[in-house]
Every structure is written in structure tokens, then in C-alpha cells.
């Protein structure tokens, strides 16, 4: 028997009985970041492959949503800070060892990039759009000559945005459930998958929907593969990691994770999309919404479960589970 107790009584708010420093703001931002990364990646990628006429929703319409999604994500991040008046300190330095610093600067670059990229396509989507200020009109026409360079920059930065959200969590080795290098690729693939699902949702072209169904199916398959390896990795690791994985294999997160994230968010949409490619007619809104929902649930559950896993004072978990 090995029994531990904190006899002086410790109940630091936000840390005890388990860490709950991050509530809804962070998962929402991680989700929107991944979604924006997916949308911008596909938009830039297919632009570079000259598919503007074949994939109009992917290249032109979907990016128009991204500045607003990023704005909501950034607002959520700002709301999460406890020392809000000092938020500008993030931008007075760059700390190469801090994934959070990379994220702050990546967002600083990708936010204007997404606005400029959207500005290139506004006239194509809304033909009667008028920029009103001549300077804005001229600047966009000038920058539009370098669309290909912007596209390449977007590919790079959207991949960074999609991946760094996972690397950020995996850098916290004090939270065993996050302490896996699989989280980076998992969040990137999930972000790309939700981006593809969003494009599916707003697309009105049969050919585009077919192509993105294929892409999404492939990405969902990859995501399932990564999730299996996530758990295999934990079960082959140290006792704190096994304990963290057991939260999902019989513990408190089992039901929500396997039904909402894997079942509804991955397996059911993949099955529907495969059936669609074989000719069965299903409204495309169903798998698209399920994938978008699954991605959101994945972020919420991973952020919550990570905070529940720890190295010390596991007896405190008795107080909430």
C-alpha cells in the first residue's frame, strides 16, 4: 500500500483537485485554428494546381470565412488570459523554445495573410463588390500579381498552424495524456479533415463535392490510424501514461470519446462518404456536419483529459471521478 495525503490542506483554485486552468476558450481556439488551417491549405493548394474553375468553393468562397473564424478564435484566446492588460507582451519577444510563442507569431502572420487572400477572391464571389477606398482597391490589385507567392506562404503557414496546436499540447510533458508526439500530426489531420468537410458543406459543384469526399475519407482514415497509435503508444509507455490512456479505456472519458469523436465524428461520416462514392445518395450535409462536430469534440475532450492526467497527487482524482 502506498497512501499519500496533503495534510496541510491544498486547494489552489484552478490547479486542485485537478488542473482546470483551460476551459472552453482553448478548445474552441484550437478547433477554429485547425479549421482555418484546413481551409487555407486546400484553397492555396488547389489554386497552385490551377483548379479555380473546378473547385470554386474550395479556392474562392471558403477562405472568405477564415478571417472571421480566426477573429473569434483570437477573441477566445484573449478571454482565456488572466492578466489581459499585458497581452501585448506576447509580441515584444519571440521565445524559440515556447510553442505558445510560435503560435502567437504564426497567428500574427496568418491573420493578415487570410484577409489578403480573401480579398483576392471577393470580387469573384460578389461581382458587385466595391472596395470604396481607392487605395485599398489599388493595393489588392498590386498584391494580386503575387498570388502564387501568397499561396505558397499560405501552404507553409497553414501547415504550421494546424500542426503547432498539437505540438503546443505535447510540449507539456507534465500532462501525460498530452505527452505524445502523435498529437501534432493528429491535430493537423483533424484540421485538414474539418477544412475539407467545411468545403463539402458550402460547395455547389458535384465534381468538387466528389473530390473533397475522397479527400475527407482519406483524412478520416489517417486520423483513425493516428488515434490507434496514440493509445498503443501510451499503453507501451510509463505507468503515468498507461493511467492516462486508461481514462479512455474504461475510465471516465470512454463513452464520450468513442461515441462522439470516433463513432459519430469519424466512422459514421467515413462510412457515409464511402457509400456516396459507390452511388448511394446521401445529403452531403450529414457527413460534413458530423466531421465538423467530431473535430470540435476531439479538441474539447483532449484538452479536458490532458488536464486530468498528472504525475503527482493522483489521489486528488478521487475527489472528482
Amino acid at each position: 500500500m502506498n497512501e499519500i495525503a496533503i495534510t496541510s490542506g491544498r486547494m489552489n483554485q484552478g490547479v486542485d483537485p485537478v488542473l482546470h486552468a483551460w476551459t472552453w476558450e482553448i478548445p474552441l481556439y484550437l478547433y477554429l485554428g485547425g479549421l482555418v488551417a484546413g481551409i487555407l491549405f486546400f484553397s492555396a493548394f488547389f489554386y497552385l494546381r490551377h483548379r479555380e474553375n473546378v473547385f470554386p468553393a474550395a479556392i474562392k468562397i471558403a477562405p472568405l470565412f477564415t478571417p472571421f473564424m480566426l477573429a473569434i478564435g483570437l477573441l477566445a484566446l484573449f478571454l482565456d488570459l488572466t492578466h489581459k492588460l499585458y497581452f501585448w507582451r506576447l509580441y515584444t519577444t519571440i521565445r524559440w523554445e515556447s510553442p505558445m510563442s510560435w503560435g502567437a507569431w504564426t497567428l500574427m502572420i496568418i491573420f493578415p495573410l487570410s484577409i489578403i487572400w480573401s480579398a483576392f477572391w471577393v470580387k469573384d464571389v460578389f461581382p458587385r463588390w466595391d472596395w470604396k477606398i481607392p487605395f485599398v482597391e489599388k493595393s489588392i490589385d498590386f498584391l494580386a500579381r503575387y498570388k502564387a507567392y501568397f499561396a505558397w506562404a499560405l501552404i507553409a503557414f497553414s501547415a504550421i498552424l494546424g500542426m503547432y496546436t498539437g505540438i503546443l499540447l505535447s510540449a507539456f510533458n507534465a500532462r501525460p495524456f498530452w505527452n505524445t508526439s502523435i498529437l501534432g500530426p493528429l491535430f493537423l489531420v483533424s484540421g485538414l479533415s474539418t477544412g475539407a468537410a467545411f468545403i463539402l458543406l458550402i460547395s455547389r459543384s458535384e465534381q468538387e463535392r466528389h473530390r473533397f469526399s475522397q479527400i475527407d475519407t482519406f483524412l478520416i482514415g489517417t486520423e483513425i490510424f493516428l488515434i490507434i497509435h496514440l493509445f498503443m503508444g501510451f499503453l507501451a509507455s510509463t505507468s503515468v501514461h498507461i493511467h492516462a490512456a486508461e481514462m479512455f479505456l474504461g475510465g471516465p472519458y470512454t463513452a464520450v470519446f468513442w461515441t462522439l469523436v470516433v463513432g459519430l465524428g469519424l466512422l459514421v461520416p467515413m462510412f457515409i462518404e464511402i457509400m456516396e462514392m459507390r452511388g448511394v445518395k446521401v445529403p452531403v450535409v450529414i457527413p460534413a456536419v458530423l466531421v465538423l462536430f467530431g473535430g470540435l469534440m476531439l479538441r474539447f475532450i483532449v484538452v479536458d483529459a490532458g488536464q486530468s492526467s498528472r504525475w503527482l497527487y493522483k489521489f486528488m482524482e478521487q475527489l472528482i471521478f
Binding site: M1, N2, E3, I4, A5, I6, T7, S8, G9, R10, M11, N12, Q13, G14, V15, D16, L19, A21, W22, D80, L81, T82, H83, K84, L85, Y86, F87, R89, L90, T92, T93, R95, E97, S98, P99, M100, S101, G103, A104, A171, F172, N173, A174, R175, T238, G306, Q307, R310, W311, L312, Y313
Partner: protein
């Protein structure tokens, strides 16, 4: 200069004077504590062993909290002491998530707080408040780089351990066994 603390588990009685002294000295807000007493019972009755420890921030040599701070608010100062610059802390809580010892907390004023090894006292040549007040003299604070300091001698002559060394942070709080 490498500051460190050694706590003699054979002398600590778990009176929590160190907890109260720290709260008084550092105006720790009510409901929070920078250090705490842990009692670990091992074995099966009647063969039981009890270890009592006073735990706090370990001021690690390779601390994840300094590494992941996006503004540099969490930093090292003289002796390897890990401190938080209140004017640079944005309250992102990355350091709280990255500490394997769960030693940090969010101060009601918005920044992140934790044990500072009472650096304001150490700079004046005094001991941290917890060390000063311990009734059984179970705590030693000093410079590991000074061969003749009390802490260096204690670590040379007594068996000792650190908490979860496998977390890889190289802590500076030692427990004499």
C-alpha cells in the same frame, strides 16, 4: 551559485509552520498556498512507514515552465531561482500546465505565482521564511556550489532523493532520507 533546499524527512513533523510562514511573509492570498505538507504511508499494517515532506516549487535546472513561457515572464535569476516577472506575465497558464509538480497557481491579481525561495530575504543574507521558522530545523537552504555550505555537506553525508526525477526537470529541492 546554485541555490537549493534540503528537507530532512526524519525531522519534519508536518506541523505546517512553513506553510503559514510563507503565507505571512509573501502575502499569499487566502485559499492559496505556495508550499504544502505531504504525508506518504507505505506498507501494510502493522509494518508501516511514514514519510513527511514539505513540498514547493523545485526551482528546476531544466524547468519546463521557463521553457514554455511565451513572454519570458518565467525566468531564471541568480542561483538558478525561477521567478515570474509580474509585468510580463499574460496569464496564459502554459507554465501551470507544464509543471509536473503542480507548484504554480494563478494569483487573483492575474499573474502566475509560486514559491520564490524568498529571494528578497536571500538577497539580504537571510534564510527563506519557511526555513527560518521550522521548529525542528528540518530545512536547509544554501548554495550547492559552496562545498562548505550546510546543504552541500548534508547532501554529501546523507542519502537523499528528489521528487519524480523521471520527469526530467532536474529539481533543486532534495529530501534527506
Amino acid at each position: 551559485m546554485r541555490y537549493a533546499m534540503a528537507i530532512d524527512t526524519k525531522r519534519c513533523v508536518g506541523c505546517a509552520d512553513c506553510v503559514v510562514a510563507c503565507q505571512t511573509e509573501n502575502n499569499v492570498p487566502e485559499g492559496f498556498c505556495r508550499d504544502w505538507i505531504v504525508e506518504e504511508t507505505i506498507g501494510a499494517f502493522p509494518e508501516l512507514q511514514l514519510e513527511i515532506r514539505s513540498e514547493r516549487c523545485n526551482h528546476c535546472d531544466d524547468s519546463p515552465c521557463v521553457r514554455c513561457c511565451p513572454t519570458g515572464a518565467s525566468h531564471y535569476e541568480e542561483g538558478g531561482v525561477v521567478l515570474v516577472n509580474h509585468d510580463e506575465c499574460i496569464g496564459c497558464k502554459a507554465c501551470i500546465a507544464s509543471c509536473p509538480y503542480d507548484a504554480r497557481f494563478v494569483h487573483p491579481e492575474g499573474y502566475v505565482d509560486k514559491c520564490t525561495f524568498c529571494i528578497h530575504r536571500v538577497r539580504e543574507g537571510k534564510n527563506p521564511a519557511c526555513v527560518e521558522v521550522c521548529p525542528t530545523h528540518a530545512m536547509i537552504f544554501g548554495d550547492l556550489d559552496d562545498r562548505n555550505s550546510e546543504i552541500s555537506k548534508a547532501l554529501r553525508t546523507r542519502k537523499h532523493k528528489t521528487l519524480i526525477p523521471e520527469a526530467g526537470t532536474d529539481p533543486h529541492v532534495f529530501y534527506l532520507l
